[in-house]
């Protein structure tokens, strides 16, 4: 392929056991390949469920929109050096391949926009934060429309 594309986002969350010495970790990952395969994995046992794995093949018209989302955010102009490192609560990791360029970042978890305003590079972290949130919401709405049943009785 002339224009390669690969994206992987991974969020690892850690929780302390009662020992206060050992950890339990959960991972949430989103992966998009150049053929259009999207997989969503979540190993947190929310409501005692098993590990969630959802995947679907996207058509070219939808894949173009994801690639455009990544291109417009200008994330290839950012660098990792002044961003905060992963801490005791977890980490965010993102890896993108586009036009034979490869990028990978590793930082801590940002849950709301006030957290990255205190860092040394707030504009760079904002680019990553809004890209991740937009991707998550877009892929959630795609997967829900494919695999979530509408409750009986709703219009």
């Amino acid at each position: 392929m002339e224009e390669e594309f690969y994206l992987r986002f991974q969020c690892v969350r850690k929780k302390k056991n009662r020992d206060k010495k050992t950890y339990v970790s959960d991972t949430l990952s989103i992966e998009v390949t150049g053929d259009g395969l999207v997989t969503y994995k979540n190993s947190s046992k929310y409501k005692l469920s098993e590990e969630v794995k959802l995947s679907v093949n996207l058509t070219p018209i939808v894949l173009e929109e994801i690639v455009a989302m990544v291109d417009e955010s200008n994330i290839f102009l950012e660098s990792d050096s002044y961003w905060p490192e992963p801490d005791e609560f977890g980490s965010w990791e993102i890896e993108i391949v586009r036009y034979n360029e490869h990028i990978s970042f590793l930082t801590k978890i940002f849950t709301y926009s006030g957290e990255f305003k205190k860092t040394k590079d707030p504009e760079g972290v904002a680019v990553l934060y809004y890209l991740v949130k937009n991707l998550e919401s877009f892929i959630h709405s795609l997967l829900n429309s494919h695999q979530k049943r509408i409750p009986f009785g709703r219009k």
């Binding site: 395969l37 679907v56 093949n57 996207l58 018209i61 429309s145």
Partner: protein, 104 residues
């Protein structure tokens, strides 16, 4: 230039279409009216931007039958509606056939 061919895939509630390039002032009811004459709509969802909360121009619509979807694509693909050209297509497809690694 023809697009690569694929087989559309049926979702759990129906057949899902993806719209791009819509006018950003549109509401759910306007999108509903665009498509209502072709058949019964099961759900209609707009995709919003996280930072500003505004409409991005993309939407997902589920219809009941495949024939209704293909008639929508014939009528509305690459047309100018409310001042902007839109694109319409199926959203999900069957997995492409794997090339056999052991064919010499």
């Amino acid at each position: 230039m023809s697009l690569p061919k694929f087989n559309p895939l049926k979702s759990i509630n129906g057949w899902v279409l993806f719209f791009t390039g819509l006018n950003k002032d549109l509401d759910n009811n306007d999108i509903y009216d665009l498509v209502a004459e072709h058949g019964k709509i099961i759900s209609c969802k707009r995709i919003l931007d996280v930072k500003s909360g505004k409409f991005t121009g993309k939407a997902l619509i589920t219809m009941e039958q495949k024939v209704q979807c293909s008639s929508i694509i014939e009528q509305l693909n690459n047309q100018n509606i409310f001042g902007s050209t839109i694109k319409v297509g199926f959203a999900f497809m069957e997995p492409p056939p794997k090339e056999n690694l052991y064919d010499y």
